[in-house]
Symmetry: C2
């Protein structure tokens, strides 16, 4: 299969789409704007990807690329996870496109769900003292990691934006570690 000339264009469209979707969200990112960024005619986007939804699906193809943590000591998995998320977030705007879109488009939300269930789930399954709690623990981890991404990259809450990476890791690691391996203390749920 020889490299066609169109592959360059296809890649340019995908790059422009990712950027627009990431900063503007699905509805505000227009095909025309994406095409302009890619220095191409809007109609080309249609011929290459069919329609806007399919374009988004192609642009938001995402993998958390979680490292293999089976060799990591139990008590350090939380820190390793937080550290990985932090680095993964910074460079790739694909996840931001997905997050911004998942808020209003059900299809994107579904993909987000499957990503987190499929990738954090197995880790939680291996870490959890009780296998029945694995899904819950994966969900708890997701709340903290996605909450951080939301506040830092989307809402841009100043104190969260300015948080140095090492400090973020220091704060969030114990949280994630507890969500994965800790016991729930129902003492806190008493209404007092």
């Amino acid at each position: 299969m020889t490299a066609r000339r169109s592959d360059t264009t296809r890649a340019a469209i995908l790059a422009a789409a990712r950027e627009r979707f990431a900063t503007d969200g699905f509805e505000r990112a227009t095909i025309r704007a994406i095409a302009a960024d890619a220095r191409i005619d809007p109609s080309m986007v249609m011929r290459y990807f069919g329609n806007k939804e399919a374009l988004f699906a192609a642009a938001a193809d995402f993998d958390l690329r979680l490292p293999d943590l089976s060799e990591t000591p139990r008590e350090e998995v939380g820190a390793a996870l937080v550290r990985h998320f932090l680095h993964r977030w910074e460079g790739d705007e694909t996840l931001m496109a997905l997050l911004r879109t998942a808020v209003t488009k059900e299809a994107a939300a579904e993909r987000m769900r499957s990503i987190f269930a499929g990738q954090i789930g197995p880790i939680a399954a291996r870490m959890s003292p009780d296998p029945a709690q694995a899904a819950t623990r994966a969900g708890l981890v997701a709340t903290q990691m996605l909450g951080f991404a939301l506040c830092r990259f989307v809402l841009r809450l100043p104190p969260v934006v300015e948080l140095p990476p090492e400090e973020a890791i220091a704060w969030f690691s114990p949280t994630v570690q507890r969500y994965l391996t800790g016991e729930v203390d129902l003492y806190f749920s008493h209404d007092r």
Copy 2:
């Protein structure tokens, strides 16, 4: 100031707007749909509120209504905060409208920032061992609370949706408590 007949209409529009903004987000919620829900002509929405942005501003007028925690024992503030957020979230769709919109509209994001800085900030200021860390601690609390809301109400991650309130309180209270009063352990940030 006697009650005008238009007050009813105004309220109906606001209620419909809140619902649409909450479920669809700013761009997908159309004036026409909101007007239809309120059983009114679209042009009336304009006369009452000027334009769509002003309508959103009126509909998303929000207050966290945090309780006075000055009498609450230090070690129970985290649980009290989590419990309050949980209850506040369920009943009012205004915050969801704000969250869904803040993801794509800068003005809404700014309001979100001021709400959290203005409301959690003072609590963090009173709780933090070091006053200089107050803003950071408030931000950390925001990541966990907003992350929970995002996963439960917007993305609808199944394990987070199914989490019973008491259990959610039990899991998140220690986290929030630590963000407010705990010490950061830089041990976790070492790259190992």
